[in-house]
Symmetry: C2
Subunit: 426 residues, 2 copies
């Protein structure tokens, strides 16, 4: 069976000039992949009538499915709908009553007047079918092309560009695709590691990798914040292939030890959540240089209120003393960025909030450092039932990236300490 | 003068299957735009030899410059270098001693062994020039093609895919481009607004927009977290055109009032920084549902330690009482998500940390809500020299997006309150 292929096309000057980062393509691709549709290309093009017609026609020649996002707003710079009318040979617009009702409802709930340019968003070329946009005003337009047009049956889904509108409508788009196109399975298994470089990891698992059968493909996806993600893929996967891939993953785990933190596509904060949830154990945090990023990551996991009590961001040194009870003598003798201060902060916030575990950071994200530690250094403290421990990390990036790497390293250190107490997340 | 055009191509299965979001393209495009190079297309393709050769050749036909990122790692799935050797007609690899020295230095500093696969990264096709990668192991390869190859002189810059490595090398790449290609100016002016919908904004400034001359283009870039960004662009801009655009921007400002928060490409947390910095005024934060996100945003601005003292994330109700001094009676009578609790939290953290201003949030990000307020509601409190005020916001998104929108609304409310006291950021 020939694999059904898709191309994703984002439309908008704001993407091409780099003013916004396109997150829709990745989201759509994950959904297509889960449905067994292979994405061959992603393209971003300008709000330009000829570009839109040329590019989309070209993608429709080489792919069964094209999904576009963007260019459907109410204002004058959004011209995608007119371009699609021309591409599909439509000369008449029709009103979609259901979308018009949603437009009234959305703007009404926000206390906004319904303007003519809003209502025009419910007008669509008569050559398309509509999937409703339940979170926004521009409907999803589905254009179906017979074999004669592009050499094979093809479909174009024009979706809005606002990410949460795209996300809401995506399920219905995928169902429509499944109903109209053959699809087969691509099976992915993911292993998350932290604390080991891509090259060293590759050497460590070379024998295992070399023994993989020809229908399996391993990819290394290094990311400073999540570590190296290993992805094993089997194309055209039947049940047997899935079982064989699962068995290879089980054989890989013992080679990785505590550097592996999950056997699914995962993040450290979710793993920490699974380590604590349901155990009655709780967590508090004291942040300095990370400025709230760790608490934000922890609370981005749904259900975090079951184990996360709270945090103190002690940005000013006086807050470390007054709220967390870190001794002024420790700060002056050991330095504000030190093992002693990280451990005192961890103990202080654990006592203040009464948690089972606590995590603390103190570091220099971009200042010049001091006589004790250079810029790019963070000390991480963890306090828990097995005592209080600390670890130093050093990075050489710009401020924002250092903050993110400090937070990731701190979460991984906490994860390892909780695991050492006999807890397991997977 | 014909405009020099560029195409950006990201290479990697991990992008095509949506496992990572491509942030490099936007970063590169912004740098090219600032140098007056127009980006015509962005494309993402698979780690597949034929795809790489076909796509890059095609882009080189239609553009003067192609910048690729990714596919240069040390492991077996990264095959871009071989594909580029073939594309450029090279059959021999040469060692780049300077990059090899950097490889030893980087791995040495991390305490890692230098493996053969690491050293192979310093081997490049003899058809290219090298720009050093100072933050990573894979050098930037520059392939120059004479007019005969693609119908016009062209250059291909193959950059690594790790964003901070790309970012570090980008300056030298842009300098090389400027030295080899004609470039002219695209002049952009940006106005940031918050709290007004795209359609209403469009109506409000319709007369101003209709009067724009034909060489100016206005784009509306709505984003739930930063508000609607207005971008006025002049292509082939000389000094006169820039002045005319600046004058149009000045005429726009009075139409926007306090909904405008900046006259440059900006974010709310940076504007708040400029409002406080140098004034001796300080800020503290008490977060509940936003879980540290606001403190993280505030401290992501360099120099935040000048005005930001710290924050308390009071996730558990007891922390609101014990640390912030919110009365148990207020919580039980008014509800934990209420004007009264938001204001008490703001007063509590302002007293605890001794700041000029304080900002507090209490809300339901995704729980079912309670008898007082439904899910998606946040109450924001601001305490300062002119008293304590609060405001309610309501959104209907999933947890993570609600948290981000709560944080953005809270920052905007704080910004308006600080401005009301007579402070100005721009």
């Amino acid at each position: 069976m020939k694999t059904t292929t898709a191309s994703i096309c984002t439309i908008g000057d704001e993407i091409l000039i780099g003013q916004i980062v396109d997150t829709n393509s990745a989201m759509i691709s994950r959904a297509l992949g889960a449905a067994g549709i292979s994405v061959t290309r992603m393209t971003s093009i300008a709000d330009n009538r000829e570009s839109i017609i040329t590019e989309l026609s070209n993608e429709l020649k080489y792919n069964d499915i094209v999904i576009s996002t963007g260019g459907l707003g109410p204002t004058k710079d959004d011209i995608t709908k007119d371009a699609l009318a021309e591409l599909s040979g439509s000369s008449a617009y029709v009103r979609n009553a259901a979308q018009e009702a949603i437009i009234h409802q959305i703007l009404g709930a926000r206390g906004l007047d319904v303007l003519d340019i809003n209502l025009q968003q419910a007008m669509v070329p008569d050559s398309c079918e509509v999937i409703l946009n339940r979170r926004g005003t521009a409907p999803i337009m589905v254009f179906r092309f017979p074999e004669g047009k592009f050499g094979h049956p093809a479909a174009l889904y024009a979706m809005p560009g606002v990410p949460f509108e795209t996300e809401t409508a995506l399920g219905e788009v995928i169902e429509d695709i499944k109903a109209h196109f053959k699809h087969n399975d691509i099976y992915h298994r993911t292993i998350m590691t932290y604390g080991v470089a891509e090259s060293a990891l590759s050497k460590q698992i070379a024998k295992w990798e070399d023994s993989l059968p020809s229908d399996m493909h391993l990819a290394y996806l290094p990311n400073p914040l999540t570590g190296v993600r290993l992805r094993l893929s089997v194309y055209n996967a039947d049940e047997d292939a899935k079982e064989r891939a699962d068995a290879r993953i089980e054989a890989l785990k013992p080679l990785l030890g505590q550097n592996m933190y999950s056997d699914r596509d995962d993040c450290l904060e979710a793993v920490i959540g699974r380590l604590l949830k349901g155990s009655g154990k709780t967590l508090s945090i004291a942040e300095s240089c990370t400025g709230g990023e760790i608490a934000h990551l922890i609370t981005s996991v749904s259900g975090a209120s079951e184990y996360f009590l709270g945090s103190v961001t002690s940005y000013a040194p006086e807050v470390k003393q007054k709220v967390l009870g870190v001794g002024a003598d420790i700060i002056s003798s050991k330095g504000i960025v030190s093992s002693a201060v990280a451990e005192a902060m961890a103990k202080g916030v654990r006592a203040l909030l009464g948690s089972t575990y606590s995590l603390a950071t103190t570091g220099w994200a971009d200042a010049t450092g001091d006589e004790h530690e250079p810029a790019g250094t963070v000390w991480v403290g963890v306090s828990g039932p097995s005592g209080t421990h600390s670890k130093r990390f050093h990075y050489t990036n710009a401020r924002k990236i250092n903050i993110e790497r400090f937070a990731a390293s701190a979460l991984d250190f906490l994860r390892r300490e909780i695991e050492k107490d006999g807890n397991q997340a997977y």
